[in-house]
Amino acid sequence: MRKSYSLDAEALPQDGLAVAERAWKSLSISGRVGLVLVIFWLFIAVFGAFLSPYSPSAFVADDVFLPMSAAHWLGSDYLGRDTLSRVLSGTRYTVGLAFFGALLASATGTFLALYAAVSQGVLDEVISRLMDTLISIPSKIFALVLVAVFGASLPLLLLTAAIIYLPGSYRIARALAVNLNSMDYVEVARVRGERKLYIVFHEILPNMLNPMMADFGLRFVFVVLLLSGMSFLGLGVQPPAADLGSLVRENMSGLQDIAPAILAPAIAIATLTIGVNLLIDALPQSGNGKGGH
């Protein structure tokens, strides 16, 4: 009676195009907008560097903060570099770090929360205390310290993002799991003599997926924003490379001129984050209508 995902296992042997078509049709309008945006930015993230008209670190323009022109479609940045090239090659840092950082945080957080909620007792306490320890240190400060101690390499930025957003995911997941754990149908299953693992994966997890996906979407946004917040404090991806947030930050003095150098990365961040969230919102909602035991 549970609605299945469009991309379920049974669909795999079928023609890929047909699956895609079915998935597309199952999406709402906003979901389709989200999907298009996400695919677009994924494409840019993977191939953007090869599409750059100039080297992103080359000083090619005659002046700084140039407006759009035929030679420089998105004008030039605060040092006279080509904005389009910088956005094209900067996207992969933002997308990569945010996606994997958020995924790592959400997945680990959900897993730990389930584990804690179901086992309860001492283990729950220990995990919760550790999470409290991490979360009660303000994220930007934590990032500031971690980067200062361990450096700003890409794997470290990823890990920093994951560690910072793990406790948040955990808390939300745990609240959900504890709530669900006290639901009648879970108790019924327990009385029925089901194993813990079964209860977790069949009764609790499916009912958590929807809010946790929404949470993942927001975590994604948060990592993007954390990166830009870190650029405010002078941390972040090593120059001459720059993630989208750093691109906004480094061109701040072009704000009053409404230079494309600051608009382009800002719009890129906005469409990317909105796209991800619209898509996640529109995904088939699993677990709904369940609980009719």
């Binding site: 000083f59 903060f65 500031l144 002078g234 003095s253 704000l255």
Partner: protein, 510 residues
């Protein structure tokens, strides 16, 4: 005679002398008559828990401004890298080793106490005490003995002759505090303003001191000093009317400020520089150094980074506005071919060369990117490592083969050479050693004849240009911006904000 000395140097630099003891406003002819009253708020770059009222600990422009507001020194900086007498009525010397300072009479501290020789002795001697943690301890080491020699006389004996002592004493670190002061929760000085509020990291408020020793000064009733670290916010605060004076601004913001008809910018040509440091013990020494120097695209750095608010540098630290500047030294230029030639001789190949830059050294991250790009075009594998500002000076500066330094304007050629280029100087950035340079430095310091002195400093500039381990692409101009109703503001090349001393000179013309 110190007065003579002052006059002589002023004549040499082509500037009119200011008579000691008699203060003449230098701006009256150009501006409307100064008037009393008014209150302004001033925003500097930084303000933190490290803000201090202890002149010995002053580290940043906000500190210097604060110290000149509340305290006075024996001497003061003037326009054109010269000095004028302040709390000292005269400074006399025969051998430039023993200096006799006669104190101005009738000077009172903010609490009503009279200025005494003991205050001067205490204020200068404390820099040598390790417990003071003075920023100028290395400079203070040359004070062999400071003692009271009369009812209003102090004698300073130096370890070696130094003709620049009056200039050195004008630094904000050497302002005069009351003898025995150890607590700096508030400031009791003889400066133009009384400290009425001091909250580190928040604000400093100064109220006009009515018994200031320069009669008629200062003009403003009150100055509030705050720090806005974010440059864009600083400019916004000025343009919105929340503050009346900001320092510094990014050259990119000058157009914005000038676009407002209520505000203006002032450029102070200074000898501030951010330099590329090539440690001489790494990567094959001389050839590698020359290669890096030829890789510096000075024109691009001046244009892209500083929008022309800079003076092209020539790998030696004396700026053209210094009286001892040597004309005619051949200008080193961006020359990829020469750079390639030297890198080949150094045998650097495709070795990955890390280049450490930090926001702590102004513009260094951008300079590093410009060098990285230029290097990549000729096969040099430079890897930019941007590190946070905190910890940079203690853990990175001069500690890797390639780093950046940031050297604030120093009042004298001797100071910049002896602090940063002498073989055994603690901050000999590149770790270069040149015996001839060291000899010239000692000779020049003691030399009384200005022409001879200038030629000695010229020789030293040539040596540093040719053999030194640092690349100095440009001298960075300091750009301040202010509300046009603020009057009497003019550049003093020792630093922004009229050499940090604007507080006693400006008035509110609204």
């Amino acid at each position: 005679m110190a007065q003579d000395l002052a006059h002589r140097r002023d004549v040499l630099t082509g500037l009119t002398a200011t008579a000691a003891g008699l203060w003449v406003p230098q701006t009256v002819q150009a501006q409307p008559k100064p008037k009393r009253g008014g209150r302004i708020r001033v925003a500097c770059m930084s303000s933190s828990m490290a803000d201090t009222l202890d002149p010995a600990k002053g580290a940043l422009s906000t500190d210097y401004v604060r110290h000149y507001m509340f305290y006075s020194g024996l001497t003061q900086y003037d326009k054109g890298l010269t000095y004028k007498l302040a709390l000292a009525q005269s400074i006399e010397t025969k051998d430039r080793i023993t200096w006799v300072v006669t104190l101005r009479k009738g000077v009172t501290f903010h609490d009503g106490a009279k200025l005494k020789p003991a205050d001067v002795v205490y204020s200068i001697n404390r820099h040598k005490n390790p417990d003071t943690s003075s920023k100028v301890k290395p400079i203070a080491e040359q004070f062999a003995q400071v003692s009271q020699t009369g009812p209003s006389e102090v004698t300073i004996r130096l370890t070696t002759a130094n003709a620049d002592l009056p200039m050195i004493l004008a630094a904000s670190h050497f302002v005069i505090i009351k003898a025995g002061t150890t607590d700096f929760k508030t400031a009791i000085g003889t400066g133009p303003y009384r400290c009425t509020q001091f909250k580190p990291g928040v604000r400093t408020v100064g109220t006009r001191f009515d018994n200031y020793w320069k009669s008629g000064l200062p003009y403003l009733d009150e100055i509030e000093l705050i720090g806005i670290p974010d440059e864009v916010s600083r400019v916004n605060a000025l343009l919105s009317g929340d503050v009346q004076l900001i320092s510094p601004i990014n050259p990119r913001s000058t157009r914005r400020v000038r676009g407002s008809n209520k505000h203006t910018v002032v450029e102070t040509k200074s000898s501030l520089y951010t330099d590329l440091i090539v440690r001489q013990d790494a990567f094959g020494g001389e050839d590698f150094t020359l290669g890096m120097k030829h890789l510096l695209n000075r024109q691009l750095i001046s244009k892209a980074l500083f929008r022309g608010f800079a003076t092209i540098g020539n790998d030696q630290p004396i700026a053209p506005n210094n009286p001892y500047y040597l004309e005619g030294l051949p200008q080193r230029t961006f020359d990829p071919d020469k750079a390639r030639f030297h890198f080949k001789r150094a045998g650097i190949g495709r070795t990955r060369v890390p280049l450490f830059a930090s926001p702590a050294a102004e513009g260094s991250v951008e300079m590093a990117m410009i060098m990285q790009e230029a290097g990549a075009n000729l096969g040099l594998n430079l890897e930019v490592k941007r590190v946070p500002a905190d910890g940079y000076w203690s853990h990175h500066w001069m500690k890797h083969p390639l780093t950046f330094g940031n050297i604030n304007p120093r009042p004298t050629a001797d100071l910049v050479f002896s602090l940063f280029f002498k073989s055994d100087a603690p901050w000999n950035e590149s770790g270069w050693k040149n015996a001839k340079f060291d000899q010239l430095l000692t000779l020049a310091r003691a030399e009384a004849d200005e022409a001879k002195r200038k030629s000695l400093y010229g020789d030293m500039q040539t040596i540093v240009h040719e053999k030194g381990g640092v690349g100095i692409p440009v001298f960075i101009s300091l750009v301040d911006a202010y509300d046009k109703r603020l009057m009497g503001y003019e550049p003093v090349p020792i630093g922004g904000l009229m050499g940090y001393g604007f507080a006693e000179y400006v008035w509110w013309g609204a």
